[in-house]
């Protein structure tokens, strides 16, 4: 019997998810024995045309990491969806938008302005910006177009399973492979992680949550036994799905929210606003003002990984007339 076919793809991502697959160490050999890898841009030399030549649904499992923010990424996501039986959003970017989706607090125009014109390291007197089409003597050159809005995979194609994490922890990757190999995959739509919050799984000593100032991680060496929130450090544990193995907490760093909202929570950021404001002991207007000032970047802190997944999705986009090329509405 032919081995099942596996595709791994990266779009708007840092490569960490691919490294996490390699972090399975010697188990990667078991995976390689179990399946035929048909696409894995970071490690294996297969091209898009190889995939295009395949029959629909001939890939058994596709692990797709990274958010979608360009026409190329969208095209490959659709291609892999057509060719795959089971599509897995692999890692926080594919599941929730991840760090790239913080770009939703700006726009393509602002990004181009900053990156190609204002950044101090630039030397771009001609004001060159990338164009999707450029004519040169040899013909027309094409580049993928960048979207204003960074999307999660499920906003582009249908997705069967979600494996969150920045990157997904090895035990969850192996769990997914095991569920797949033994034919025990849960109903489509399942998140392969815990059903509890990170806070619920945390073993630190928790007492009464009352704080009077916020410490940013570089301002304090936290007590490794005590709840980080109770020490005044913004920890996203109360509104973050567990199953991560508490990697950050065990390194004495607060939860940054990479597993996204727990079951039942619609908007991770809104819940964190609620949680942090509730425990901060501020009754006078001055104290409330102090609290608001101490939380320097609420959107970036509370939606660090979950912007595309959030209710607002992005900053309100105000188009300046005609300056954004081929924008899609």
């Amino acid at each position: 019997m032919a081995k099942p076919k596996l595709a791994l793809y990266w779009s708007a991502a840092c490569g960490g998810c691919d490294v996490a697959v390699l972090d399975t160490n010697e188990k990667i050999l078991d995976i390689a024995n179990l399946v035929d890898i048909v696409l894995w841009p970071i490690a294996v030399d297969f091209k898009y045309h190889h995939i295009r030549a395949m029959a629909d649904k001939s890939i058994d499992l596709c692990l797709f990491n990274g958010a979608i923010r360009s026409t190329e990424q969208e095209e490959i996501a659709r291609l892999l969806r057509d060719k795959s039986k089971v599509m897995v959003a692999f890692g926080s970017c594919a599941c929730l938008g991840g760090i790239p989706a913080l770009a939703n607090l700006t726009s393509r125009e602002e990004i181009f302005q900053r990156v190609y014109r204002e950044a101090p390291s630039n030397s771009n007197e001609a004001g060159t910006v990338p164009l999707t089409k450029t004519s040169v003597a040899e013909g027309e050159l094409e580049l993928p177009g960048l979207f204003d809005t960074v999307l999660q995979l499920a906003q582009v194609v249908s997705v069967e399973y979600f494996v969150p994490g920045c990157p997904p922890p090895v035990d969850l990757i192996l769990k997914l492979v095991d569920l797949y190999a033994t034919g025990k995959l849960p109903p489509a739509g399942a998140v392969i992680a815990s059903e509890k919050t990170c806070c619920d799984e945390c073993e630190r000593t928790k007492e009464e949550k009352k704080i009077t100032r916020i410490y940013r991680p570089h301002e304090i060496i936290p007590d490794p036994k005590k709840c980080l929130l109770e020490q005044g450090i913004i920890c996203c544990g109360p509104a973050t799905r567990g199953g991560c193995g508490l990697r950050c907490i065990k390194a004495n760093m607060p939860c940054r929210g990479c597993f996204g909202p727990p079951p039942g929570v619609v908007d991770q950021g809104a819940k964190l606003v609620s949680a942090i404001a509730s425990i901060y002991q501020a009754d006078s207007e001055d104290d409330i003002k102090k609290m608001v000032e101490e939380i320097v970047d609420p959107a970036g802190t509370f939606y660090r990984f979950g912007m595309a997944e959030s209710m607002l999705k992005r900053k309100v986009l105000r188009r300046s007339q005609g300056s954004v090329q081929d924008a899609k509405d």
């Binding site: 999307l151 950021g269 009754d283 409330i288 608001v292 999705k313 992005r314 900053k315 309100v316 509405d329």
Partner: protein
């Protein structure tokens, strides 16, 4: 056609809802732009509710509770007093204007005050124009 702002008013049962009721029973005329939702306490107003209202097409959200010290549940409104300013700071990062979310204390006897707040907010929103969240539809 002129723009009629849609305001979602989330009012606490004990003071503000009764205050709004008083505005009605005293036949105080005020802008019909507010759609009132009654909650037991302004402390019940999860910031998610505010986002949900915007997601469903509200142009503004008005949250009203008992005056500080008057909370039926002792300190529900104290938590709201902290949550709303933090939420507003975050909403500003999303480009949502300050005037679109308003927190006010309205007691059961302040029907007139409730009417004035709704009138004021309606005019403010009229000036700001419709709220358009363009997240998530296609690529923006």
């Amino acid at each position: 056609m002129s723009f009629e702002p849609r305001i979602v008013g989330i009012l606490c049962n004990w003071c503000s809802y009764t205050g709004a009721d008083l505005a009605g029973t005293s036949r105080r005329k005020y802008a019909p732009n507010v759609r009132v939702v009654r909650v037991m306490c302004s402390g019940r107003v999860d910031p998610t509710f505010v986002l949900k209202a915007f997601e469903m097409g509200a142009d503004g959200v008005l949250v009203c509770g008992c005056h500080p010290g008057d909370c039926h549940y002792q300190d529900g409104n104290k938590k709201t007093a902290r949550r709303m300013p933090l939420l507003k700071k975050m909403l500003a990062q999303f480009g949502i204007e300050d005037g679109r979310v308003r927190l006010e204390w309205v007691s059961a006897s302040e029907g007139d005050r409730f009417a004035t707040i709704v009138n004021e907010m309606t005019e403010q929103l009229r000036a700001l124009g419709p709220f358009r969240s363009n997240g998530g539809d296609g690529h923006g």
